[in-house]
Symmetry: C2
Subunit: 340 residues, 2 copies
């Protein structure tokens, strides 16, 4: 007896039936898509250079079902990739979605993931042009590849261009995702701004518009803060072969972070420096940017904060505390391979 | 005490140390790569339309360590994607690699996978331009996204263009991967051509050159035989809204297939029709192609076999056996979601 795909196991629907259902949930056709979901491969019109990245979300490593709903998982899986495109100064345009599903996954879960994907794809005019679905004996996995365009008259903004004398800047606030994760794990802790902190964890906002505004007045180097402010700044200064002074007290922290950190028994700076998963843009710019920063922040509708200075390499890489104590800049971030 | 990355667990090396090691194993820089592995995203020069696809290999679903070595897994993971690009008439150029690794994965396994990737990437002039590595509590997963180019003067070859009167053609032979899988599981079975059958399973040859030759004299429709000849032909005729007559005895079978099938207690046609994972090109072409097929086969250095005829849709979709018995064409293929 055929079982209803809504109540039955995945196998009753099969890969092709499921793909057919899911393609109707997401923005799949649109400008530039010659061939989208449903053939061996997609065929896309790309004007100028293509910016390409892939990033994975593994249940139990990058998310857990007690803290995230399926829609959040879909949102996050695409958000982290859009953030990578934005960090190059690119404009995200297309995405491909790989799902590996445990046998017990319900159609409601899969469709929830796709609704979350559709929500963020719609918000950023990204078209879902392909993907595949497989079963797995392990945790649920969503692997996303995002493709973006780069205005042909511009260069991509890499991690490698910071120069001594540049300022170090960051969009938005940092540490919010880590605080939100803690608050979702500890609902008994009440702090101001808790809902915004939870959203920072569940539904990170990729700084696509900010990346576009910045790309017009190019930063000397840029990276997104997926691994934590300190860890990502270290990647940037290593790639640029420069030193740095990061002023810990200048790190822009969201409302409620300090209270949540106290409840967790942590120094709030630990989350701001190493919490990870904030997906803000961390960039360097020459002194001339100081005078233009306010206008840029208004144009991108996101605060910009100068958090440090690039130094010549021999001067080292330091985190300064209030009062002038300093310690070496080290990755305090979130390594999805070695984190346990 | 720091442990040697060669003997220690993955965590001792970390994601970034590992990525740095792996990027040296593969062809990563070359024509068209403005920015490759190591930044937030790759920046690629693509002339004309971009052909994009992603396909996943899950341990225990798509491969098992008793039948495949790490090098085979790397080879297969890229091969299946190159096959998808070839099936659109595209030329593969770039790939991004997502790895999800169980904690017990050794550096030797990861480097083996990358050596396999490097081998096939080198053979097809594909550059590995990005990727990510994560741990997982489940099986090892390699998810690959491949990007290709399409000569701007050509259209992509879709599944949807078959017309009544067209012939149905296939490159190479079918059923070999399934026979090879069986022989690897049953080393006591000796058949002629066993090594080639095992290689067909472990190291499928994507028909990139054949796809390019065919794209010059475009087939009316094309697909690759990842799910099995019958299942993929069904996808093609459904997309084209046509009927079909597939002649079972015309299916080109590799040496040793019949003997291996007998040892397995199967009709050899079961593997030729539904074995899956052959990654041949299955295409349709008008009658004029019959006279040109031999020259095309010589140019691509792969046999071409006409295995059936496209019919008007109302005449139905059939598999004919020798003697004229027929049965409905049905997916007998390999569904990685419902297969157990």
């Amino acid at each position: 007896m055929p079982r209803s795909p809504d109540s039955g196991p995945l196998g009753a629907l099969g890969e092709f039936g499921l793909i057919d259902r899911l393609r109707r949930l997401v923005p799949a056709a649109g400008p530039g898509v010659t061939i989208g979901i449903g053939d061996d491969a997609a065929v896309l019109q790309c004007d100028g250079p293509v910016v390409a990245t892939c990033d994975i979300q593994v249940e139990g490593v990058h998310f857990t079902w007690d803290l995230c709903g399926p829609e959040d998982v879909g949102w996050r899986a695409l958000a982290v990739n859009l953030s990578d495109i934005a960090a190059m100064g690119g404009m995200p345009r297309y995405a491909l979605i790989s799902l590996a599903l445990p046998a017990e996954t319900t159609p409601a879960t899969i469709e929830g993931i796709y609704r979350g994907l559709a929500e963020i794809a719609g918000a950023y005019d990204v078209l879902i042009v392909g993907g595949n679905i497989s079963r797995t004996t392990g945790p649920l996995i969503v692997d996303v590849t995002a493709l973006g365009s780069l205005d042909g008259s511009r260069h991509a903004v890499t991690r490698a261009g910071a120069r001594p004398g540049d300022g170090v800047w960051v969009t938005g606030t940092v540490g919010g995702a880590a605080a939100g994760r803690f608050l979702l794990q500890h609902p008994e802790v009440r702090v101001p701004g808790a809902a915004a902190l939870a959203a920072a964890y569940r539904r990170p906002i990729p700084r696509v518009q900010a990346g576009q505004v910045l790309a017009e007045r190019p930063p000397s180097a840029m990276i997104d803060t997926s691994d934590g402010t300190a860890g990502d700044l270290l990647h940037l200064v290593e790639a640029s072969h420069v030193g740095v002074r990061l002023d810990e007290e200048r790190l822009p922290r969201p409302e409620g972070l300090a209270q949540a950190a106290r409840a967790a028994g942590l120094d709030p700076a630990a989350w701001a420096l190493g919490g990870g998963e904030d997906y803000e843009l961390l960039f360097t710019a020459d002194r001339g940017f100081d005078a233009r920063a306010a206008a840029a922040a208004a144009q991108m509708d996101v605060p910009l904060t100068r958090i440090g200075d690039i130094l010549p390499e021999p001067e080292g890489r330091w985190i300064y505390r209030r009062g002038g104590q300093r310690r070496p800049l080290a990755a305090q971030g979130w390594d999805h391979l070695s984190a346990t």
